[in-house]
């Protein structure tokens, strides 16, 4: 098992994770924890009124989950930069796989391409993380 981000070479991946299917409760919990009560994320009628086929996950929930790939390495560093583009919607029941590939390392910083891909293979969110090793 790889224990350090800097043991990876360019092109290698952090172990990817497939999350359990998105539930309404996930969205209700995120709404409560984040204070984002936009009803298109929790109430079917509101989503339909907005022209959506059903409630959609908060983009920021997916982004928050993407960052969890780096949590095993937080003892030694932190995410200095995290950029994402929300490309597609996430619906109830979607199974999201999170992936991070090392694209560059330089000095104290390792740069990754990070994606969230649904069960159909569509990239719903794509971004970059710069993980920075920190000295005590």
């Amino acid at each position: 098992m790889i224990t350090e981000v800097f043991d990876l070479s360019v092109g290698q991946e952090i172990p990817s994770r497939t999350l359990p299917p998105v539930t309404r409760l996930d969205l209700i919990k995120y709404a409560g924890a984040s204070g984002d009560y936009n009803p298109i994320h929790t109430i079917d009628e509101a989503a339909e009124k907005a022209g959506l086929p059903g409630v959609i996950a908060h983009g920021m929930l997916t982004m928050g989950r993407m960052a969890t790939l780096f949590s095993p390495y937080l003892e030694r560093g932190f995410i200095r930069k995290f950029t994402t583009r929300f490309k597609g919607m996430v619906f109830l029941g979607d199974e999201i796989t999170l992936k991070a590939v090392l694209v560059d390392k330089h000095g104290d910083t390792a740069r990754f391409d990070v994606t969230a891909v649904n069960q159909k293979g569509e990239t719903v969110t794509a971004g970059q993380v710069e993980f920075c090793v920190r000295n005590k």
Partner: protein, 150 residues
């Protein structure tokens, strides 16, 4: 129509980074790092104290840019960026404000699209920047029309 607020800044708001709120947020995104909640583990880490998840700044209050009003529904969060100088610490107080950095209007298939870029900044008690959170918000022509008519 929002161009005249470019460069305007909200009145800063001080936000405490609360332990319970951080724990609840970490749980909601399924982040089980002990560094958010376990003081012993946090002390042993390079950070020396409890930290908050990188997307946590979303929940803070950045104040209001005077006179700037946006549609309450139908906004699309197109892009998001966090830029940190150091991690955000639990139990610190952060002074937060936002600035409208840019407004662009583009022609899309579905009509005119307005793209707003908002920079949200968090500073420590010495006035040093901890993070900048940049939101790119898209307002479609349909949303803008509906909002202006209401």
């Amino acid at each position: 129509m929002w161009e005249k607020w470019i460069g305007q800044r909200s009145k800063p708001v001080t936000n405490p980074i609360e332990r319970g709120a951080v724990a609840k947020f970490a749980q909601a995104i399924g982040d089980d790092s002990p560094l958010y909640t376990d003081e012993e583990a946090a002390r042993k880490s390079v950070h020396g104290r409890l930290i908050a998840p990188p997307t946590y700044p979303m929940i803070l209050d950045y104040g209001q840019i005077e006179g700037l009003k946006l549609p309450e529904s139908g906004l699309i969060h197109g892009e998001q960026q966090f830029d940190y100088r150091r991690p955000l610490y639990v139990d610190e107080k952060v002074t937060c404000y936002e600035t409208l950095r840019d407004v662009k209007v583009k022609q899309a298939r579905s009509g005119e699209m307005t793209i707003l870029v908002i920079d949200r900044v968090g500073e420590d008690s010495e006035g040093e920047r901890i993070f900048t959170s940049t939101l790119t918000i898209i307002v479609t022509e349909a949303v803008k029309r509906r909002w202006m008519a209401s």
